[in-house]
Amino acid sequence: MAESYVKPGNQEKGWNDPPQFSYGLQTQAQGVQKRNFLNKRVPPPQLDGSQVSLPSGAPLPAKPLSPTLPLAPPPSTVVLPARRLSAVDCTALSASTHTECEATIEDVMGLLDWALTACRTTVKRQVCDEVSKRLTLFQEMWISGKLSSPVKKRMYYLAEELKKQNWDSADETHRSLIVDYVNEVSQWMVGVKRLIAETRNLPTEVLNAEVEGPSPKEDTTQNTQ
């Protein structure tokens, strides 16, 4: 569950900076091998003695509209021939970004804390403390309104996937967040990354023993600091 969007580039810093694609769009495009479809060329007026140096080769089916005044409006009744179905409309954002995140921080932290607690049984204390530090920072940023809605939503999704032991999906979600929202998440996301990595390596008994741990809606009173 990554968003598909396109944002304009940074025109202030880079001349003709290209648009920025979300992680979701990029990975989708790169996995599929596409032949470059814009690859046709038109041969020049032939080397065949017809000295048509004047390039009338380009077809002109209708008289080109005069650029001088008065400006006639564009044709409004012409039906455009069917084109290739193109990817996401540049201007449209995925609908999900418009709605607010419904999950609360408690929901998310409950799930993440479940994983962290499970890790504490076998993973080095120092590593768990480092992860915990970053989760706390994440929590603080959420509460103080510093995180945008898409980040919150995706974090909830990530936490759910983590609980369901869908490791690859959780990992992919963390990647999509750090690519798309690096300035919001860079300080703490590596903790989440580590949490996913450590949790997935836990022996199954430990994970299953913890299954009865807090469910998404329960309040957790654990203070992992």
């Binding site: 396109v6 900076d17 290209p18 790169q30 814009l38 060329r41 390039p55 990354k193």
Partner: protein, 766 residues
């Protein structure tokens, strides 16, 4: 019956090979008369989703001077379990594992559809990949912050078991010790003092201890743990490294007014190369240099720190006024060669508004197969996304990047190898296949490509050595085998073998077959690579003269005409696009340095000599598509006549995507018709080129610049400078029609070029 076009395309799809000639002239003399050498573009790791690798070792010919790999061209005696090498004719027994083979039960490597096949081999320990970040901290605050974030992000994109290291530099060079506990330490080097590899390794404590115990540290087991204090597995060190990166500050040394920051890029790279050399030679590694300005101090400096002394331009170089050029280039070439010998590649990510010294440093990437990315700032989408794409994955979810490529070429005895042009170094492997004539990197039949991916393409040049009076049997074929060993991103060792063959033909009696099988697209790119190779050591005008001479000779050989009658000149269809390609090549930034800085020229050339045919052709002659109300998008002539008021043009030059709105379109857009519901189709028209551009923007490496412009816009020059100026201010009123937009230039047009070409080709005075 497949046409030659289809044959050529099928072969490219299956084997990643495009030959200039697909029917080969059978004698040396005739081959030289063909003008375009017998040569091919070869993509060793061409993406083949339908080709599963096999899990066994390739079977080799037992002759020590041959060692060709068993392939579909070999004759097989299934009863006696023998096979005859098609290159040296040695009869070889099959290994015991092949006891069960028969006509009906062939191993994959004998089947014709497996002319390209990949083997996974188990050899030696699997070594992790290494990513060593070398980071310039003399950046503006905003830029440094953006770069830090990109580096932190990249830790999530690396292969999880990869080793990672960090060197930062400004006035001094700091090698950071990566540890999970306690205070972070670093070793500081002066940015001015050049050190040998041994000295660097000693100072970093990386040399093997003479005594078993050294300073309380137990003797390190030989090659057993692949990490050192400076290179740690990313899954262990990610949190600490993220913090370390967060804490990076701008270089603390103040930069006085009128001065550039002191940047010790040369020493930083030297330490990086030395660090990897000492700890982990011959494993896949990337040194990733991130720099925001030119080296201004120490060996490898490109310009001094006085701002009033500008960095060298082409003009300076021509006038021999580039003080540091020779010395700096030599310095980086030495580093690049060492890195290539070690199998490590060097990337350069250079983001600045002014030049950063790519001219001097380009060998670091060109010799090792590393990337060069050039942008205006680290805080741009161009850098961020291009950098993300370094870590892109294929359809199998595996990283595209691969390491330690070693390509060996074998030929049947009528052919020899003259050389290769691409991101590689020679391995100086002499042998019976090696020609004495050198084109590109010659004198060898083996090359090394330290950084390689599915798009890396080499130009390979061959010589026909058959004597004129030694007849070649009717229907016989010449063969070439490409054997590429490499380290896959999963750290597996793989071997890709491609074996191809083409018919010989007698040029005297069968010239029409040879002509029909000419691949003008491949020929154009292969000649272009030769031109760019020459341009590195010859004067620009000489290269153009050489290119023109080859074109005239080709037209004389293959054109149909009456002597001294230019109007009678014709070229057959298989040559019809070639002169146009040469016309655009002559005007391209690869051969024309006018209007580009030395860094820009280096950047363009770097990408040109490694891309596959389709992308290379786009660079030579950009693609132009026209969008209108009158029909679906269509390709149009790259000509000023294609610029019309009621059309939108999409031009792809590989480095830029330009969307140009004709005058009327621009006026409609300004008037806001796209917002009105009854003009929905205008909105769609405006959107169409954007959608098509998007597909290219999403996948291309490096990411192109994106220019959205219109008639009269200043950015329209990107389009105007590329189209054939058939109408200029000189000839506008000579034609009597007013279609198209005139270009203000004194460049010759394609028509004038063709007229001159025809005159010269038909002239009996040549």
């Amino acid at each position: 019956m497949a046409t030659y076009q289809e044959f050529i395309q099928q072969n490219e799809d299956r084997d990643g090979v495009r030959f200039s000639w697909n029917v080969w002239p059978s004698s040396r003399l005739e081959a030289t008369r063909m003008v375009v050498p017998l040569s091919c573009l070869f993509t060793p790791m061409k993406e083949r989703p339908d080709l599963p690798p096999v899990q066994y070792e390739p079977v080799l010919c037992s002759r020590p001077t041959c060692k060709a790999v068993l392939n579909p061209l070999c004759q097989v005696d299934y009863r006696a379990k023998l096979w005859a090498c098609n290159f040296c004719f040695q009869r070889n027994p099959f290994p015991p594992a092949y006891a069960g083979i028969s006509e009906g039960n062939q191993p994959a490597e004998l089947m014709p559809q497996f002319s390209t096949i990949e083997y996974i081999v188990q050899r030696g320990p699997q070594t992790p990949l290494i990513f060593l970040y070398v980071v310039d901290i003399c950046l503006e605050e905003e830029d440094l912050q953006a770069l830090k974030e990109s580096l932190q992000m990249s830790l999530s994109l690396l292969p999880p078991n990869a080793l990672v290291g960090l060197i930062t530099f400004g006035r001094m060079v700091q090698v950071h010790e990566l540890s999970c506990e306690g205070i972070s330490k670093s070793y500081v080097f002066r940015g001015t003092k050049d050190l040998s590899a041994k000295q660097i390794q000693e100072m970093l404590g990386l040399t093997k201890p003479a005594a078993p115990i050294q300073q309380g540290r137990p003797a390190q087991p030989q090659d057993h743990s692949f990490s050192s204090r400076f290179l740690q597995p990313v899954h262990k060190i990610d949190m600490n490294l993220t913090d370390l990166l967060s804490e990076l500050q701008r270089d603390p040394w103040p930069v006085p007014q009128g001065k550039r920051p002191l940047r010790s890029t040369g020493i930083a790279l030297s330490i990086a190369v030395g660090l990897l050399e000492g700890t982990l030679p011959n494993t896949g590694a990337r040194v990733m240099l991130f720099t925001g300005g030119p080296p201004t101090q120490g060996p490898g400096m490109v310009v001094g720190d006085e701002l009033k002394t500008p960095i060298r331009s082409w003009h300076d170089i021509e006038k021999d006024n580039a003080k540091h050029l020779k010395k700096a280039t030599k310095y980086y070439e030495a580093l690049a060669s060492r890195s290539a010998v070690n199998g490590h590649c060097i990337d350069i990510y250079a983001c600045a508004l002014d030049q950063t010294g790519l001219l001097e440093m380009k060998c670091c990437s060109n010799l090792t197969g590393g990337h060069i990315v050039m942008g205006d700032s680290f805080n741009t989408s161009l850098f961020k996304q291009t950098f993300q794409r370094v870590f892109s994955k294929d359809y199998n979810g595996e990283f595209r990047m691969a390491f330690g490529g070693e390509l060996e070429v074998k030929t049947s005895r009528e052919l020899k190898i003259s050389g290769a042009i691409g991101p590689c170094v020679s391995l100086n492997a002499k042998g019976p296949c090696v020609s004495e004539t050198e084109l590109g990197l010659g004198g060898t039949s083996q090359w090394k490509i330290c950084g390689i991916n599915q798009f890396t393409t080499l130009g390979m040049y061959f010589e026909v050595v058959n004597q004129h009076n030694a007849p070649v049997p009717q229907g016989s074929r010449g063969a070439i085998q490409f054997i590429t060993q490499y380290q896959h991103s999963s750290t597996q060792k793989r071997i890709r073998v491609t074996t191809v063959a083409r018919n010989w033909a007698d040029a005297q009696s069968q010239i029409q077959h040879i002509e029909a099988a000419f691949d003008q697209e491949a020929a154009a790119v292969l000649m272009a690579r030769l031109g760019v190779f020459r341009a590195e050591s010859e004067e620009g005008p000489d290269v153009l003269r050489w290119l023109d001479r080859q074109l005239i000779r080709l037209c004389q050989k293959f054109g149909q005409f009456h002597k001294d009658d230019p109007n009678s000149f014709r070229l057959s269809e298989s040559f019809s696009l070639y002169p146009q390609f040469m016309f655009h090549l002559r005007r391209s930034p690869f051969l024309q340095v006018f209007n580009n800085s030395p860094d820009e020229s280096s950047y363009y050339r770097h990408h040109f000599v490694r891309q596959d045919l389709t992308q290379s052709l786009i660079m030579i002659q950009p693609i132009l598509y026209s969008y209108s109300f009158y029909g679906p998008p269509e390709p149009v002539l790259l000509d000023s006549s294609s610029i019309l008021p009621d059309r939108i043009l999409l031009m792809d030059t590989f480095f830029q995507l330009v969307i140009y709105h004709g005058e009327t379109i621009a006026q409609w857009r300004k008037a806001g018709y796209q917002e009105m519901t009854e003009y929905e189709n205008f909105k769609q028209l405006l959107q169409a080129p954007l959608d098509d551009a998007q597909e290219i923007l999403q996948t291309r490496f490096p990411m192109p610049r994106y220019v959205d412009t219109e008639h009269g816009g200043s950015q329209a020059r990107f389009l105007l400078s590329k189209v054939n100026p058939s109408q200029t201010h000189n000839n506008l009123y000579a034609w009597g029609q007013e279609t198209g937009a005139p270009i203000l230039t004194d460049d010759v047009s394609l028509q004038v070029f063709m007229d001159h070409l025809k005159k010269l080709a038909v002239s009996s005075a040549s």
